[in-house]
Amino acid sequence: MKHKILGVFAGGAVLFLAAASLPAHHGYATEFDAKNCLNLKGTLTGVDWENPHGYVYMDVKDASGKVHAWSLETISPNSMRRANTTREDFMNNSGKPAAARACPTKPGGTPDKGTVEILVMSDGVARILGQNIEGLTPEQTKDLLPQLKP
């Protein structure tokens, strides 16, 4: 999802990131498909609260009514906790509706697996839990959020 505004916003950030030369992040460049991210609505069923990535589990019904058990990769729980997303938040919202912006594996990869970029559990709080591999600008994120209602 590339918009003209992306170039203007990202200029500073990209320059900074190139200068910092951050460690290569395993998996994201090769495993996940930043061009086909999608909105998921379903039920939160669990979380793996571990490093280097957490995993969020959601049951999502497709158009035919079949349930897909999605596994969604997150940033480190150390990071989530600092931004006020705790293991207790997942426990308290487990078994309840949730919505996620997710980027799936590339074609040929494991089905029903992806990264969770933004998660909204039944408490309604928007939580940024991914790496923004889509490259959403703040404007695009703002436009997306109303679609992520559990």
Partner: protein, 300 residues
């Protein structure tokens, strides 16, 4: 009634309540920019949309006649962990994320001696893969290897400890004036000894393991003649400045000097570093491939 103005032939007379009504109307129609932005910016867990650079915070504390570097420090200006994705929460987050402005203090590439680039420049894209929690060594850990995660500096008389959350690691740096041993065994963090020059702690490191690559653009390996000088200062309570010089008479035409990198004091009172072991790697093949790539330089 307040007579506000009277000009040639015209009289403007307004009641006080009328003036107030007009002012309120104008503010309602054209609210101040900051109030308008705050209404429109969505809210995220952790209030990340409101991240901004810390103020200087007053003078740095001192111990034993020197600035005390102790504290939990984040590699940014915002005093907390700032994941790259948080930049999408609000345009304001970028200023909190930055450790230096490349336009003000550019950080250039290393200058290789003739023929050395092919031997020592690391293949683009290769890095110590995130999923292995592999350590980065000196000075790579503090120049980007630790990514978004904090460090804790514990300053005691005669010794400074630098604890790193990711990758989980520590360095102990004597400040008791001891010299380097004659021929230290190479280690990832190297053999360090430090002394104060005014308000700057100067850390001198040699004997860094061959496998450690330096962060920069591009990244590069080093000879056994590499000599790393790190400078730590604390210009005010909330900021630590970290700057690195890498000398390598075999590989580099001249020393490579980093920009001064800002670190900011944690806003989370009493925070302890989290434990970070990579116990749940789910992409072993990809990690293995990246680890293999890391050993390759351009010439291979």
């Amino acid at each position: 009634m307040i007579r506000l103005r009277e000009t040639r032939g015209l009289r403007y007379v307004l009641s006080l309540s009328g003036v107030l009504t007009i002012l309120l109307l104008l503010v309602w129609i054209f609210p101040p920019a900051s109030a308008q932005e705050k209404e429109n910016t969505p809210h995220f867990a952790g209030d990340i949309e409101n991240l901004k650079p810390l103020t200087a915070g007053g003078p740095a504390p001192h111990t034993g006649g020197h600035p005390d570097l102790s504290g939990v420090w984040y590699p940014n200006s915002g005093g907390t962990e700032i994941q790259i994705a948080y930049l999408s929460a609000s345009p304001g987050v970028l200023a909190a994320k930055m450790q230096f402005d490349p336009k003000e203090t550019p950080e250039g590439p290393p200058s290789f001696k003739p023929g050395m680039a092919a031997k020592y420049r690391v293949k683009p894209g290769a890095a110590r893969a995130y999923g292995t929690c592999a350590q980065f060594g000196t000075p790579a850990t503090l120049l980007g290897g630790n990514a978004t995660w904090p460090i804790q500096i514990i300053q005691t008389p005669g010794l400074i400890a630098v604890l790193d959350e990711y990758p989980l690691d520590y360095r102990v740096i004597p400040t008791d004036g001891r010299p380097h041993p004659k021929d230290p065994d190479p280690t990832f963090n190297g053999d360090s000894t430090a002394h104060w020059e005014g308000d700057t702690l100067v850390v001198d490191t040699i004997a860094v393991d061959d496998r450690v690559s330096n962060f920069g653009s591009p990244r590069w390996l080093h000879s056994d003649q590499e000599h790393v000088i790190e400078r730590f200062s604390r210009p005010s309570r909330n900021y630590l400045i970290y700057q690195v010089t890498v000398e390598d008479p075999v590989v580099l035409a001249k020393p490579w000097v980093s920009a001064p990198h800002r670190w900011s004091l944690s806003i989370h009172k009493g925070e302890l570093l989290g434990e970070f072991f990579c116990t749940n790697n789910q992409e072993p093949e990809e990690i293995g491939r990246q680890t293999g790539d890391e050993a390759k330089t351009e010439g291979k």
